[in-house]
């Protein structure tokens, strides 16, 4: 079996907050990430697919098709957006790396055959891997 990974980039703003908590508790738990004016990241998304090599093409999967699917299903909704305000999923879910991964997985898994894992880098020192 072979895995292939394609990287994508998107830039978005967010802040962390639990609306059921006081401002003090949000600040204590989330620190500077709780600033309601938001802050931003250049996210790096790695989409990993697995499968066998198609003998006619030499491909596990046509990455042009993968790119179009990811752009349409994920990037158009997230890139250059305010995640808390512009993306309905994050009206009720804190836009942490973990929840962004869960959102992206739910979008891609039904339409991307062979999806094995997604990896989301929030900063060069911090990333999350997600698979169901």
């Amino acid at each position: 079996m072979i895995t292939i990974t394609r990287k994508f980039h998107f830039s978005a703003s967010h802040y962390y907050s639990n609306p059921n908590w006081s401002e003090e508790k949000n600040l204590q738990t989330f620190g500077k990430c709780a600033n309601k004016n938001g802050h931003g990241h250049n996210y790096v998304l790695e989409v990993t697919l697995s499968g066998e090599i198609n003998p006619e093409t030499g491909y596990v999967m046509d990455l042009h098709q993968v790119t179009e699917l990811v752009k349409t299903a994920v990037l158009e909704e997230l890139d250059h957006r305010n995640l808390n305000i512009d993306v309905t999923f994050f009206h009720n879910n804190n836009p942490t790396m973990e929840n962004i991964c869960r959102f992206i997985w739910k979008k891609l898994q039904p339409i991307l055959h062979g999806l094995q894992k997604i990896t989301l880098w929030e900063t060069p020192e911090l990333y999350c891997e997600y698979a169901e």
């Binding site: 059921n20 738990t29 973990e98 991964c101 911090l126 990333y127 999350c128 997600y130 698979a131």
Partner: protein, 140 residues
């Protein structure tokens, strides 16, 4: 399954040699890594924790400060800006190869970070070593 990785760095000196061997044999086996006065690296340590549940109240798998506290207390403070052979007691009788450093870091960290699933130590930009829950040390 969700895995979260945070990356830390520390700068240390070490000398890779077997004190039971002659200088010639050390040079033959370890090459320039056995030079008598030691050498150093900027090590990079990737700490990966795993779990199945995102806390619905925070959106976190685990609080990052929990990882920071464990790693800083159990590893960074011991290693950063230190001479591994001289200043860390464990390595006074264990060769401070990347494999042995990685195994030591796992044993230090795991009791304080039960969700620890994988450690990857980059000794240089060309060499990295991974220790995971199955207990195997892999050279990559």
């Amino acid at each position: 399954m969700i895995k979260l990785t945070k990356i830390y760095t520390f700068s240390s000196a070490h000398r890779v040699f077997n004190p039971s061997w002659s200088e010639e044999k050390n040079l033959e086996v370890f090459g320039k890594c056995s030079h008598k006065n030691g050498h150093g690296h900027n090590y990079t340590l990737e700490v990966t924790v795993s779990g199945d549940t995102i806390d619905p109240e925070t959106g976190f798998l685990i609080s990052l400060s929990e990882i920071d506290n464990a790693v800083n207390d159990q590893i960074i403070e011991l290693f950063d800006h230190k001479n591994i052979n001289i200043q860390i007691p464990h390595f006074q009788h264990t060769i401070p190869s990347a494999e042995n450093i990685l195994t030591f870091c796992w044993k230090q960290l795991k009791p304080h970070l039960p969700q620890l699933q994988r450690l990857t130590l980059h000794e240089t930009i060309n060499n990295k070593f991974t220790y995971s829950d199955s207990g195997k040390t892999l050279t990559q």
